[in-house]
């Protein structure tokens, strides 16, 4: 028996291990798309998804039927299946089966290409008596032969792991009795009350002492009957007052009678049973700075202790009612002994399967009869081993293979069309976020002529900061979630506008008080009646207006907003004037050296070090939508679920600063004096775009600024048009101007559950020089990161680019992938019954586990494939760069992303397969060719293959093969 101290350590260790399985999502107000299986990234992808699916009772891949549909539709080809099967067999070995009559490969290919029916004995019996399906096999003698064959071997008893929680053991014996159905409503209510960020009128008393202490205070009194099963709860809670929760958990593990060697499993299963809430508690324990309003001491150990205590009470109450002893420890042993074994399929079912397989691979009745017993067993075993999960894994690999080939083919063919930009100075350069949604905006800009060049970088533009806008009440971090900013930037009214600003502020405060008072008043007793009587008829006006005339209302509101907002001209305090830190430990503004470093870093990253255009626009992005708890999921991932406009604005200010330019010039990076940077922000939902500080643009650049506005207006209209092809509620032949109005209305429609599709369909990330992919239609499916291999001799820039892009890109990609594969377990299901709770998350309906992941309405059009990371660099540099960043190395080594090298030397494309780069052999040597994107996507709703958009090509066109 280990000492109590050791056992406490054990519990902590188990708890830490279990915490890795929890969803990585924090409060929903700042939604950062992350891999739902982030805790499994230290294991190979194919293994991890299968293991996770067992733990969470989730799906590892899409349903087989959907892959078969893809096969039928040509999205997967049989060549893909054969290729992945061969790769798989290279590991397993391709043995002969059925006495050499068939091979493993034949068997597996047949099972992949043709569906077989799995039935239980009763269904087979029904088929035999009620239908003529098996008549032909009966006549040919195959069916009787199979029946005789399976009679030779006894049906297998499958050894499955005995569950460890009482709840699962009880459920296996009494399928209608679920102790979680008793415990969860109470536990959910308590967790919600504990974490609440301001929905409830009264906060939970004593919650500043932690979950279990607060519950012990509130529920430990002598107030009369709660639900029947929890009648002994007050007494139990009084007993643990002041006890450390690890000790409580330890005591409960013992009382439940679970032996030491299985307590890790018990803790894991108990935590995972309510993993949304447990995950939130864990996330807020790790990052208390992410509490939106009020911090409370959130501890996973408290949750575990409370959960085990409640579980034990429920079991103690239930056991006698099921005819068991009410001692949980004795009960555990008894339940384990009585745990029903999982039986394999019965003989009729086995015979049916064998019969179908025999037909598929061409074994006749005589062949079956001639098999020896061990050959038969081996055949049956081979069939059983190639079960649904294995088949779906291969289907998935084939699905990804086809996508990879199509994309790499597109790049390879495009290579012959693309040419580097001409030597003369471009008119306009536009730097946007690497976001897949910016791909179309950039393409539509480039289609306007070779004078416009675009670049992509992580959308916080290397400006990690806390930002407080003029209308914000506190500063929010704008940088990737893994960083903590050390600087704060504030927005202020310009000199002379302060009085106006104060007036507005007062007005807003007054209106805010009125609205807040009405909202909270409407729930109270006496004020509620008054509010209802007064505000009810008034509420009818916006209700009718918003539902019946959403577009008109939104225009009206926007106009009112514009009146209110843009009156006050503002400036940003980006420069540091004092080194004294602020109250939160950050410093106000950046010093000139830091500014120069930031500008240098971004320009180096994207390879913009010569040929500066006279006007360089830097555009961040965010998304505005209404009635959408997941609004933040559409914002910029690189800004940690915030909006990147301020970062772009700050970057432009820094890059325009003459002192910064002087320092850059001293370090060898000369930005021409007549080059002006201007910051902007794009709304990916309404396709609106605004620019900041344009009044500081010198008079000589006015015409260029007007040209920028014109170019952006054209591009965003076409961007809206391209997006509309995905929206079922936009007509197929919609005109561009109408499309822009359509997306504007979506952004402000209360009833719209799909304001935009976010990152759905993302599949590729291209890190490299834009000219190599410019003019290639990538269907808003590619993250585009600018990187110039010629400007990165030692690979340092590639390493830091991958360090930023790898986790963000794969996080988004895997978040969408798993939410699409299992929308209910990894995603948060349909939005329609969602119910915001505690301002930290959503539940389904009245009381459910906290729903994490992305909603179905966001991922429904997503095609789940792992991110294909194509890097414009030689193989060796990629290896070195990826190997030098541990998080990227893990993603690459364990195949959570696929990597391809697009060698600048022109050696073509190669992709990483099992640790080595294999040359990509193009299957198709031509690409469709259109003048403009719209010609290619017009009339199509689904994903489109790459095509050459000639209008976007630069420089002299070379003669190319066309389709």
């Amino acid at each position: 028996m280990p000492s109590p101290a050791d056992r406490r350590d054990d519990i902590r260790r188990h708890l830490a291990a279990a915490a890795h399985a929890l969803p990585p999502q924090g409060p929903i107000g700042v939604f950062v798309a992350q891999n739902a299986l982030a805790g499994f990234e230290n294991r190979p992808f194919e293994e991890a998804v299968v293991d996770a699916s067992r733990l969470f009772q989730a799906e590892p891949f899409l349903p087989e039927s959907q892959y078969r549909d893809a096969l039928a539709a040509g999205r997967i080809r049989s060549a893909d299946l054969e290729a992945v099967l061969d790769a798989d067999l290279a590991l397993d070995g391709d043995g002969a089966l059925a006495g050499g009559r068939i091979t493993q490969r034949q068997l597996r290919l047949a099972l992949l290409l043709h569906p077989v029916r799995l039935e239980d004995d009763a269904a087979v019996r029904w088929t035999l008596t009620e239908s003529d399906l098996l008549d032909r096999e009966t006549d040919s003698g195959l069916w009787p032969a199979c029946l005789e064959a399976v009679a030779l071997a006894r049906p297998a008893i499958l050894r499955a792991r005995t569950p460890v929680r009482h709840r699962d053991l009880i459920l296996a014996l009494h399928p209608a009795t679920d102790t979680d159905a008793l415990v969860h409503p109470l536990l959910i209510r308590l967790c919600a009350a504990f974490l609440d960020q301001g929905v409830a009128g009264w906060p939970m008393p004593h919650r500043d002492r932690g979950l279990i202490a607060a519950v012990a205070e509130v529920y430990g009194d002598r107030l009369g009957p709660t639900a029947a099963w929890s009648r002994r709860l007050p007494e139990a809670l009084r007993a643990i007052r002041g006890t450390d929760s690890v000790d409580v958990a330890l005591a409960e593990c013992d009382r439940l009678g679970v032996p030491h060697d299985r307590q890790g499993e018990l803790i894991l299963d108990s935590i995972v049973a309510l993993r949304g809430w447990a995950g939130m508690i864990h996330q807020l324990e790790l990052r208390p700075d992410r509490f939106p309003v009020e911090r409370v001491p959130s501890r996973l150990a408290d949750f575990l202790a409370l959960r085990l205590l409640l579980d034990r009470l429920a079991v103690e109450w239930l056991a006698p009612r099921l005819g068991h002893a009410d001692d949980p420890a004795g009960l555990w042993t008894e339940l384990c002994d009585r745990h029903p074994p999982r039986r394999g399929p019965g003989s009729l079912a086995r015979a049916l399967l064998l019969c179908q397989v025999a037909r598929l691979v061409g074994l006749r009745a005589a062949d079956i009869r001639s098999l020896e017993e061990n050959e038969l067993l081996q055949l049956e075993w081979a069939i059983a081993a190639f079960d649904g999960t294995v088949r779906r894994r291969l289907f998935h690999l084939a699905y990804e293979r086809r996508h990879r080939i199509e994309t790499l083919d597109g790049l390879a063919v495009h290579e012959s069309v693309a040419s580097p930009p001409a030597a003369e100075r471009p008119d306009l350069q536009i730097l946007t976020c690497m976001d897949d949604r910016c791909e179309s905006l950039r393409r539509h800009l480039e289609e306007q002529g070779p004078g416009i060049e675009t670049f992509g970088a992580a959308g916080f533009f290397s400006v990690p900061m806390y930002f407080q806008g003029i209308d914000d009440w506190h500063a929010t971090p704008l940088c990737p979630i893994v960083m903590r900013p050390r600087h704060t930037v504030t927005e202020e009214p310009v000199e002379g506008a302060e009085a106006q600003h104060r007036l507005r502020q007062r007005l807003r405060r007054g209106l805010g008080k009125l609205r807040g008072g009405l909202a909270s008043g409407s729930r109270t007793l006496l004020r509620g009646g008054l509010v209802a009587a007064v505000a009810g008829p008034l509420a009818a006006v916006p209700l009718v207006a918003r539902v019946v005339f959403p577009r008109f209302t939104s225009r009206l509101r926007r106009r009112a907003d514009a009146l209110a907002r843009h009156r006050v001209p503002t400036r940003l305090l980006i420069e540091q004037h004092s080194t004294t830190p602020l109250a939160d430990g950050t410093r106000a503004g950046f010093d000139v050296d830091e500014m120069a470093d930031i500008v240098r870093r971004v320009l180096d990253d994207i390879g913009l070090v010569t040929r500066f255009a006279p006007l360089v626009a830097v555009i961040g992005h965010g998304s505005t939508s209404l009635n959408n708890p997941h609004e933040s999921a559409y914002d910029c991932g690189a800004c940690g679920g915030g909006r990147g406009g301020p970062n772009a604005r700050v970057f432009a200010l820094m890059a325009n600063d003459p002192r910064v330019r002087a320092r850059l010039a001293a370090a060898g990076l000369r930005i021409p004096d007549d080059t002006v940077f201007v910051g902007g922000m794009q709304d990916t939902c309404s396709d609106a775009c605004e620019f900041f500080d344009t009044d500081h643009v010198p008079a000589g650049h006015r015409a260029r600024l007007a040209a920028l506005h014109a170019a952006i207006d054209t591009a965003r209209t076409l961007d809206a048009h391209e997006r509309c092809r995905r929206f079922g509620s936009a007509a197929a032949g919609i005109a561009p101007a109408e499309a822009l109005r359509h997306v504007e209305a979506r952004a402000s429609d209360l009833a719209q559950v799909r304001p935009e599709y976010g990152h759905a369909t993302n599949a590729v990330c291209i890190v490299g020089r834009r000219w190599r992919s410019r003019g290639l239609f990538l269907d808003r499916r590619a993250f585009l990161v600018s990187y110039d291999p010629d400007h990165d001799a030692d690979g340092a820039i590639l390493a830091r680019t991958l360090a930023a892009v790898g986790p963000v890109g794969s996080g988004i990609n895997l978040a969408y992938m798993f939410s699409r594969i299992d929308p209910r377990r990894y995603g948060c299901g349909t939005k329609l019954p969602h119910n915001i709770t505690g301002l930290i998350g959503v539940m389904d309906g009245h009381a459910s586990d906290l729903r994490t992941g992305l909603p179905w309405q966001t991922v429904e059009i997503h095609e789940p494939v792992r991110l294909l990371l194509v890097i414009d660099a030689p193989v060796e540099r990629i290896r070195a760069a990826a190997g030098s960043v541990p998080v990227v190395k893990q993603l690459v080594d364990n195949r959570w992303v696929s990597v391809a090298s697009w060698d600048p030397a022109g050696d073509g494309l190669s992709w990483l397969d099992g640790g080595r780069f294999v040359p990509h052999v193009p299957e198709c040597r031509t690409l469709p060719r259109v003048k403009r994107s719209a010609e290619w996507y017009a009339g199509h709703r689904g994903n489109l293959p790459p095509a050459v958009v000639t209008a976007a090509l630069t420089g002299a066109r070379r003669e190319t093969p066309t389709a």
């Binding site: 919600a192 109270t524 009587a533």
Partner: protein
């Protein structure tokens, strides 16, 4: 005479239009014909628009005639001796304004849901149920006899149940639907019994036979004893639908369906059906002061209970459900106090406000952020409330009571549900034993029975 016939036609249209859309959307679904989403919303929307136009026209005619009640006799279902079951509709100062408001709201929710439920597998089902609800609601409101009212009442009840359980794949939704259904069944017995008593007393279910004069201020024609019985039974019926103590536990759980149905049912119309029933029969209530005072007590009690419990709700829809319950309780208390126009106005304005709040409950984060920005900080917990001045120990106890939902379920469970279930199980066990005895094989008596 012509205006009479016109008015009758308009009243009939208010029920017939949504009923026709129910058939138009429901029949193809039954026959397995797929109708496009836009087609469905247009059909249902047209039904509500026609009904609304008819109601507004009727309101105009009625106003011109000084709100003299107008009865539409649609025939007699059956009659036995002195008893007859008539199918009557009535247009008066209560029913027509209420139809204007309820069809208007149904139309709005139809427009909202057309987008909200886009591509949802249960799209058609939702609109069939919405049309059924609209038909039932108008039937209930326009009913001139308790029999018609009962029919409307049941349509509202069944559509409510099926929409709570809209998501077939979720156990919680099904459980909540069953809970609401059981509550409805129990309380609907009150309405049915009230009908029986009315028939026995007057020989007809017609309100005209029980109440003379227009609304409000009619005179009850029943004997005081009968009036008391009928009033108590009607109150019993109203408690279930309006989610009043001790039948309130289903209401927060009803928030399992899609947001638009939660808004129209539990923020706006279904929850006020009880209030409407009592307003319709106000004269009977007037004649039974004891029942009226009981109604005041229950309404006020529910309002206090719901305020208390609502204060600790951490989810938006739960909080709004309790806020609705508070106002519904106050409205019933107002009716009990003998007010007429005030509760009617209260119903309509509360319904509009609450349904808007539920429809935009997914905006809570957005709204809170804007509010915090305007105020320069997050608004604290409610400014003044009684709980703030209580000593800490009492506050903790109050919090416990509120988190346990005022022990309503625990008490009902122990006093009613458990004994009833126990009796049923005992009966089942007894039956099994008797059957076994007859079959000649006596099993040992098992305690507790099958769970």
């Amino acid at each position: 005479m012509i205006t009479d016939r016109l008015l009758s036609g308009l009243v009939l249209l208010q029920v017939a239009a949504p009923a026709a859309t129910l058939a138009a959307v429901g029949l193809p679904a039954v026959l397995g014909i797929t109708v496009r989403e836009r087609g469905i919303t247009r059909i249902v929307g047209a039904g509500f628009t026609i009904a609304l136009a008819a109601a507004l026209a009727a309101l105009g005619i009625l106003a011109a005639r000084g709100f003299t009640p107008h009865n539409v006799h649609m025939g007699t279902w059956f009659h036995v001796g002195h008893h007859e079951a008539t199918v009557d509709l009535v247009a008066d100062a209560l029913s027509i304004p209420f139809v204007c408001f309820s069809t208007g709201l149904c139309g709005l929710v139809n427009a909202f849901a057309g987008k909200y439920l886009h591509r949802e597998p249960g799209f058609t089902r939702f609109f069939i149920l919405l049309a059924l609800f609209g038909t039932g609601m108008n039937l209930l409101v326009l009913a001139g006899s308790i029999d018609v009212l009962f029919a409307g009442w049941e349509c509202v009840g069944i559509s409510s149940t099926l929409l709570i359980g809209f998501f077939h794949d979720r156990v919680a939704a099904a459980a909540a639907a069953v809970r609401a259904f059981v509550t409805y069944r129990i309380c609907d017995a009150g309405l049915l019994a009230a009908g029986v008593v009315l028939h026995a007393a007057t020989g007809s279910g017609d309100f005209e036979r029980a109440i003379s004069g227009g609304w409000p201020g009619g005179t009850c024609l029943l004997s005081p004893g009968t009036a008391l019985v009928v009033a108590l039974l009607l109150i019993f019926a109203a408690l279930g639908k309006s989610g009043q103590v001790p039948f309130s536990a289903w209401l927060p759980r009803a928030m399992e369906g899609p947001t638009p149905s939660s808004a129209i049912f539990y923020g706006a119309l279904s929850i006020h059906a009880g209030a409407y029933l009592l307003l319709r029969c106000e004269a009977i209530l007037e004649a039974a002061p004891l029942a009226a005072w009981l109604l005041v007590a229950i309404g006020a009690g529910t309002a206090i209970h719901a305020t208390l419990v609502g204060s600790v709700q951490t989810d938006l829809k739960g909080m709004l459900a309790y806020a609705s319950m508070t106002q519904a309780g106050m409205i019933l208390a107002e009716i009990g106090l003998g007010w007429r126009v005030i509760p009617l106005v209260h119903v309509i304005s509360h319904a509009v406000l609450r349904s808007l709040q539920i429809l935009r409950s997914p905006s809570a984060l957005h709204d809170r952020h804007e509010l915090a920005a305007a105020l320069g900080g997050h608004p604290g917990p409610d400014g003044w409330s009684l709980v703030r001045v209580l000593p800490p120990a009492v506050r903790t106890a109050v919090d416990h009571i509120a988190l346990e939902r005022g022990y309503e379920e625990a008490v009902i469970g122990r006093l009613v549900v458990e004994p009833v279930l126990g009796a049923l199980r005992a009966a089942a066990a007894f039956e099994r034993r008797v059957v076994a005895l007859l079959a000649g094989d006596v099993p040992p008596l098992r305690r507790g029975g099958d769970r």
